[in-house]
């Protein structure tokens, strides 16, 4: 992004250091002088909220690991030991368990924000794909974390999810036994999941670094979907504007988070996970954590083992191809009247799929799940490519400053130059 890197170290020591390791200049250019589009709304605070949640999960998780033991005969009791014996262990565990849910709430808002405002379009494809990778790593981390308390849902969730790989023809069983380190989910599985659950967040942190690097290289998208053309007119410096706004949004988010921690800490969990794992008896109704439910619904709606698994993975993989499936050159849904309607239909479908995933897979619910699954893929594979060809977008403002001025005047969008494509 042009327009920053104005940092001039003051003083001899700072100059000496900066000429050897320009890290203060890097912080200055990316967190202080960095030009932020002046039209950003509160949807753009979720990047900062997500960074905070990653730190929150790593800090609380490192502390929990000081008291936890990954050994099948004792793990369930160790979690109760954390809850009852460790000073504030109940608080730290509830922070970590609900923190995972908050992390996913924030990431879903962040993803849908990107979809609505076309943040995946050129030149932000790599930025978007890095985000999809983070999302995949988050899902793997959350799944393995849920196994660690070694309750009934932990055990049977691990059994069901690892058995997904048994759908692979010929080598499926071999792969699953390799994942388990045995012939069923057991102590070796628990131990390796603990190890990986500790590792993956640091890999997420690494990819987040790349994600922010890519973001700061191409610049932020914004509600009008036009790039910064004049740093002085179109942007404000990151500090104090974005810093203070992000902190305020974080505080509001923390109030919501605290409500879960202190008032309904088990609301998003499942009571069956307070029963120790029993390899001989499956609970009557197995459900994953809420953030996996839409994909779980897709898995169950396909009446074929391999087909269901492929559909579930495809539902996530399709996100990575979004920059090329959406053929419209206009980024923001603000200027795409048809896309805006289809976006909201898609959002409702995604939420309904989640609801269906929580219901027993039988009768009418199954039929509805199938319709919703079909629509999920039609949205990406049919509607988005065709919309770009047939939709007539509204005129896009020539610059961010024009969009802001038009809003300030409370009237029509100031149009300068041709409507339509402004990138590519």
């Amino acid at each position: 992004m042009e327009g920053h890197s104005t940092y001039q170290p003051k003083g001899k020591v700072a100059q000496w250091f900066e000429s050897r390791l320009p890290i203060v200049g890097l912080i200055h250019s990316s967190a202080i002088a960095y030009p932020v589009p002046k039209n950003l709304n509160y949807m753009w605070t979720f990047g900062a909220i997500l960074s905070f949640m990653l730190v929150c999960q790593i800090v609380s998780g490192v502390v929990l690991a000081m008291h936890y033991v990954a050994y099948a005969p004792v793990s369930f009791a160790r979690v109760e030991h954390i809850m009852r014996d460790v000073n504030y262990g109940w608080l730290i565990r509830y922070i970590h368990a609900n923190g995972a849910s908050m992390f996913f709430i924030a990431v879903y808002i962040h993803i849908f924000r990107g979809m609505y405002y076309g943040s995946y379009k050129a030149p932000r494809e790599v930025l978007w794909i890095l985000g999809v990778i983070i999302y995949l790593l988050m899902m793997a981390t959350a799944f393995m974390g849920y196994v660690l308390p070694w309750g009934q849902m932990s055990f049977w969730g691990a059994t069901v999810i690892t058995n997904l790989f048994s759908a692979i023809p010929w080598v499926g069983t071999t792969i699953v036994e390799w994942l388990w380190g045995g012939y069923s989910v057991g102590d070796p599985t628990l131990n390796r999941f603990f190890s990986l659950h500790y590792l993956l967040p640091f890999m997420i942190a690494g990819v987040v670094g790349l994600h922010i690097w890519a973001l700061h290289h191409v610049g932020q998208n914004n509600p009008d979907g036009v790039d910064i053309k004049n740093v002085a007119k179109d942007s404000v410096p990151f500090t104090p504007y974005a810093t203070i706004k992000d902190i305020f949004a974080m505080v509001v988010f923390l109030i919501f988070f605290s409500w879960f921690i202190f008032y309904i800490p088990n609301y998003l969990g499942h009571s069956d996970n307070y029963i120790p794992a029993n390899p001989l008896s499956t609970p009557a109704h197995i459900v994953p954590e809420w953030y996996f439910l839409p994909f779980y619904a897709i898995l169950r709606s396909i009446p074929d083992k391999l087909g269901g698994v492929l559909a579930m993975f495809a539902a996530i993989a399709v996100l990575a191809f979004l920059p090329w499936l959406d053929t419209s050159k206009v980024r923001s849904a603000k200027y795409r009247p048809l896309f805006r309607q289809f976006f909201w239909v898609f959002a409702v479908v995604a939420v309904l799929l989640g609801y269906m995933g929580s219901q027993p897979a039988e009768g009418g619910a199954l039929i509805i799940s199938r319709i919703l699954t079909a629509y999920y893929f039609i949205h990406f594979l049919v509607i988005l490519p065709l919309l770009g060809l047939f939709e007539r977008p509204k005129p896009v403002p020539a610059s961010i400053a024009d969009a802001v001025l038009a809003k300030a005047k409370g009237g029509a969008v100031v149009v300068a130059g041709a409507a339509g494509p402004e990138t590519k």
Partner: protein, 210 residues
Amino acid sequence: MSMRLPCCVRPVAGGFRGRRLRDVHRDDNIIGDCAVAHTETSDTTTRRDFLYIATGAVGAVGAAAMAWPFISQLQPDASVLALSTTEVDLSPIAEGQIVTVQWRGKPIFISHRTPAEIKSAVDTPLSDLKDPQPDSARVKTGKEQWLVVIGICTHLGCVPLGHQGQYNGWFCPCHGSVYDTSGRIRQGPAPLNLELPPYAFTTDTKIVIG
């Protein structure tokens, strides 16, 4: 309430409004939320200054309150505290025998001293001692035959060996500290006598440590 702010605070608030904005926004035609508060001078104390400090103070208190659980969790937890006393039956310990029990994870030496051992401890002049302490201060009155000490060398934490060394007390194999029959340091690098744990006789033959 009239508020006089410490001078270190005001430049921050002033910089917020004036300096940073000027750096990036040389063009004064901009309209928008960034160009509002240009006119104030940074010399007067404003409601905004008060709000900054009040907000920052609440944030600091919140951060400190949140840090405490993460510090406190490192302290011994309830399951460790539950093991903080150890009861020992002394009746099986023969005269001249030293047994080692565990209290809070530490070795405790319980020495059933012979009259000769007691005599040599009592007769030692305090001037011979590196860490002067009479034997009477290291045992319970009327129970002089029982010496109860923490079995950790005061040098660097090794466990000394019983009935060894020049004084027939303890000898530390790590760096050669020698203790007498009262567990007092006599030779070597250790600075202090073997520490005494808190304990009490519940009956004639039972003690509770801790």
